[in-house]
């Protein structure tokens, strides 16, 4: 058996709250530090301690970072799950496990490497109460030895993970070395079939979660006010915002902040505060997940109708209801797009990479302020809470688009316009901010009927006029949202459409189609709603289109179906839907592609 280099996955099964997060991060970062592309997917329970959790490290010289279903190496630290975990392995996999687990009694087509973890840690860690945490470092050591991860890389990873805390590092180092020692002693004659070899493919790259990127992006795009109510998996976005803002947006002398983060009493209050802040003129945002989106429904309609900017990050998790709070999903796509009663439509963004989480933080504010409307940024648990490799983010040096705001200086416009007048023919009116002295520009913001001058009205004609302008405004937004991104020549007959965190799986699937199945396809990644012109054209110009989504009901497709330009195109569009809560693997796309096209082929044959 030859040795596979820099191309395999490690699946670590542990118990939640046992400190395995640090070990896994050290493992992943050490490989990254050796210049090898790597990604980590954390599958954790909705619980603080005791329930099973898994972490998958994918090592890929070619830089594929999507989740893989197959695992080459399994580490079993969890008594509750190891039987099932072992059963799920492909043939020939390697199992590193507690020595009290009898792997052979489960399967004999996998390689069992029993490790006396308890014994090793008892020796390596003098303090009993620390052993429960440190034991996880032992498997890092075992793996490091087998896989040839260098001590230097481990040290760098530890320094970063433990922020240089020497005592903690010493403790963990001891555990790792003990693991290494064990592996060295027990290594068989045959070489371990997987190993890493230094490369330079991560040079200059960063490893970051989408929520960190989004929080950072918000700090750098002038966000002044954040209100939110904690909810998995959105909480870390606000935590990162606070962390970076506390560092870079506090007056060094006075200790005063030029931002505020308010933990609201619930999501209704969170979005309410955001509206109050945006109305005052600050850039304001909130972050939440499904249940919070439901609770924001009433205010979302208010903001749409009264035309108040707001940025809402929805880090999607599995619904309906509480659902599976720690599983990923794209299940709020259609709900967010028309959130609230009555006729409403909201601008939505679909970041697909951590870099886009960073840049779209700014785009969202620009669009919200330009169009004076809420903007929903639909990320998800996979993108938000897992680590992705990326080029460092570019400093955003363009100025902010604060939209059409009139001040006391704008005498002419104040005289001629009115709050809801379509002066420019693009459906986007001019607004003013509280504090304006010129009474001609002072108005009352309300969710009840108002005419172009912002005066209360119950006249049907005024209402229709305003609603039609809102439609026009939305139409204007179509070509202001980020364009879709095309991969492929654009001239193929088959087109795939996907969005958000499906990107990594899609990239890889397209590659496999092209290289292994020899099928040339185009792949368009949609990045915003309303759909950019080019999305419609892509569908029009392809013979067959697959829309890949992570929900049951084909939600993005249901939005596409409302596009008048597409009424004749629908018969050629099919859904590929993945909704079991784990990140989309390329293999799922391939399998479904085969399934959907096989009938066709045989029909053609």
């Amino acid at each position: 058996m030859s040795v596979k280099v820099n191309d395999f996955s490690i699946h670590v099964a542990t118990v939640n709250g046992s400190g395995s997060q640090s070990s896994n991060n050290v493992l992943m970062r050490a490989i990254f530090r050796m210049g090898i592309p790597v990604s980590g997917k954390n599958l954790f329970p909705s619980n603080i301690q005791g329930l099973p959790t898994w972490f998958t490290v994918r090592v890929s010289a070619d830089g594929w970072t999507a989740r893989r279903v197959e695992t080459e190496i399994l580490v079993c630290m969890n008594d509750q799950t190891y039987v099932d975990d072992v059963k799920a392995l492909p043939q020939g996999a390697i199992v590193i496990h507690h020595d009290h687990m009898n792997i052979a009694s489960i399967r004999n087509d996998v390689t069992s490497i029993p490790v006396p973890f308890s014994k090793i840690i008892a020796e390596a860690c003098p303090e009993p109460r620390l052993r429960k945490l440190a034991v996880n470092m032992v498997y890092v050591g075992v793996l490091a030895e087998y896989l040839k991860i260098t001590d230097e890389a481990i040290e760098l990873a530890m320094a970063q993970q433990f922020k240089g805390k020497a005592k903690v590092i010493d403790l963990n180092r001891a555990a790792i070395q003990a693991g290494r020692a064990f592996a060295k002693g027990s290594q068989s004659a045959a070489p371990f079939p997987y190993k890493v070899e230094s490369m330079n493919k991560t040079q200059g790259k960063i490893l970051i979660e989408g929520n960190a990127a989004a929080g950072l992006g918000s700090v750098f795009s002038g966000c002044g006010f954040v209100s939110w109510y904690p909810i998995t998996p959105s909480t870390s976005l606000v935590d990162y915002f606070s962390e970076y803002a506390e560092k870079y947006r506090v007056d060094q002398k006075t200790g005063q902040k030029n931002f505020a983060v308010v933990q609201a009493e619930d999501e209704l209050a969170a979005i309410g505060m955001v509206l109050g802040s945006s109305w005052m003129g600050a850039r304001a945002m909130t972050a939440t997940s499904g249940p919070g989106i439901s609770l924001m429904a009433e205010f979302a309609g208010f903001a749409y109708f009264a035309e108040v900017p707001a940025v809402v990050w929805d880090i999607q998790r599995i619904g309906p209801s509480t659902g599976l709070p720690t599983r990923t999903s794209q299940g709020d796509v259609s709900f967010a797009a028309t959130l609230s009663h009555g006729d409403t439509k909201h601008i939505c963004l679909y970041p697909g990479t951590v870099e886009e989480c960073f840049t779209m933080a700014g785009t969202a504010f620009d669009l919200a302020e330009h169009f004076q409307t809420p903007v929903f940024v639909l990320s998800d648990l996979d993108l938000g809470m897992n680590f992705y490799m990326s080029d460092p983010f570019k400093y955003p040096d363009q100025s902010l688009n604060r939209g059409k705001v009139l001040t006391d200086a704008d005498q002419e416009k104040l005289a001629s316009s009115g709050r809801y007048v379509d002066v420019d023919g693009d459906g986007v009116p001019y607004r003013t901010l509280p504090g304006l002295k010129d009474r001609r520009g002072v108005f009352f913001t309300r969710g009840s009927g108002h005419n172009a001058k912002a005066v209360y009205t119950e006249k049907g004609t005024d209402y229709v006029e305003q609603m039609n302008r809102l439609s026009r405004k939305f139409e204007t937004a179509r070509n202001h949202v980020p364009k879709p991104l095309l991969e492929g020549s654009g001239k193929n007959k088959i087109g795939f459409i996907a969005y958000g965190s499906s990107h990594e799986g899609m990239r890889e699937a397209i590659h496999i189609l092209q290289n292994d199945l020899k099928v040339s396809v185009d792949y368009l990644r949609v990045r915003g709603f309303p759909f950019h012109q080019e999305v419609l054209e892509f569908i029009q110009s392809h013979e067959r289109v697959f829309v890949v989504e992570q929900n049951r009901d084909g939600q993005l497709l249901s939005l596409l179906k409302n596009e008048p330009l597409l009424v004749r195109e629908l018969p050629k569009i099919e859904s590929i839907l993945h909704y079991e809560g784990f990140p989309l693997p390329a293999s799922f796309v391939i399998e479904n592609y085969k399934r959907l096209t096989s009938g066709q082929k045989s029909a053609a044959a």
Binding site: N258, I271, S277, M280, L433, G435
Partner: protein
């Protein structure tokens, strides 16, 4: 009306659009008291932000200070909007008008939490014991035993918003009657001068649905039962305090903006800086079915939410891009840490 105040504005400059409430509605009197207060306090309308929820009462902000921006939120959720606004521009003077339905039913959660945060604003509840705009259902402030227009008896205990505010640590708590300009105007001015959340529960009768015999929120009932705990006055910062106050009968309270409240004894000694006493008096009144009005409690040393949150003195909305966006080197530093 036509005499300009020292910022050059006449009372008319403090008007809003014409009221569409019922003739005789208590809320319209509150509007008048607000107009008088702002005019006399010489506030420039553009420095004021107005907030409300939904209900007849919540329409009030449209009827005063048309020179101020106003935000008529959704039902019961105005406090959150006001909180976001206050945090984003701390230079504004904030006035919020709500109803008993808007506050004590659907708005209870947000009411509790705005008080807890001590967001600087004067929060007036135009309390009529019913849902006026939806035609007269009992609200949560309707007294047990009070009769509905059609004869139904309210069987649930009322919520006393002053006691609740006190319990939640509110630093300015008063009650008044829409018909009592003399008491309301100084209470409004004091509330507008306060540094944190000021709650003013104003019995403001609904002439259409809750002004009948048997209602405890009718004009007649309130007039018959209203007992002021003191005679309250407001002395603006630019007027020297009368040195002749009898300190035995008149208490003077210094407000943060240099103005003062004067509280002249009526029947009893009442110290509105004594929170415990406020509880006792109000609990006793409640059990006796008495209707007390006046300033129940004031804590002039309260710390507003912006200071609790260590917010910069400059309002957030006045910060420039260069202040809001950290430097390139900051981003570089972050990127470096992620490598």
């Amino acid at each position: 009306m036509v005499t300009p105040n020292r910022v050059g504005l006449t009372k008319k400059d403090y008007f809003g659009s014409a009221s569409t409430l019922c003739t005789g509605c208590g809320h319209d009197s509150v509007t008048l008291h607000l107009i008088s207060s702002f005019y006399e306090m010489e506030v420039e309308p553009h420095q004021v932000a107005k907030f409300s929820g939904i209900g007849c009462s919540s329409k009030t902000p449209a009827y005063f200070l048309s020179g101020s921006h106003g935000f008529n939120a959704v039902h019961g959720r105005m406090p959150s909007v006001a909180t976001g606004a206050a945090m984003s521009n701390r230079s504004m003077m904030n006035i919020a008008v709500s109803g008993d339905g808007d506050t004590a039913s659907i708005g209870m959660g947000q009411f509790v939490h705005i008080i807890r945060r001590n967001v600087p604003l004067l929060y007036i509840i135009e309390n009529n014991g019913v849902y006026g705009l939806t035609k007269g259902q009992f609200s949560a402030t309707s007294d047990k035993g009070s009769l509905q227009k059609k004869g139904e008896i309210n069987t649930l205990e009322s919520i006393d918003l002053c006691l609740l505010a006190l319990e939640l640590g509110c630093g300015y708590v008063g009650r008044s009657f829409s018909g009592d300009a003399k008491q309301m105007v100084p209470l409004i001015k004091g509330g507008l001068s306060h540094k944190g959340t000021a709650v003013l529960d104003v019995i403001s009768p609904c002439i259409t649905f809750n002004n009948h015999e048997g209602s405890t929120k009718s004009y007649k009932f309130v007039k018959d039962h209203d007992q002021a705990i003191h005679e309250i006055g407001f002395v603006p910062s630019y007027t020297p305090l009368d040195v002749d106050y009898d300190h035995g009968t008149t208490k003077v309270i210094d407000l943060p903006n240099g103005s003062h409240l004067t509280l002249k004894k009526i029947d009893r000694d009442y110290d509105p800086t004594n929170r415990q006493a406020a509880f006792e008096v109000l609990h006793r009144a409640r059990s006796e079915g008495a209707l007390l009005t006046g300033l129940f409690y004031i804590n002039p040393d309260t710390v507003p939410f912006q200071d609790v949150m260590k917010l910069a003195e400059t309002p957030l909305v006045q910060l420039s891009l260069s202040e809001l966006r950290p430097s390139k080197s900051a981003l570089d530093e972050v990127m470096e840490s992620l490598k």
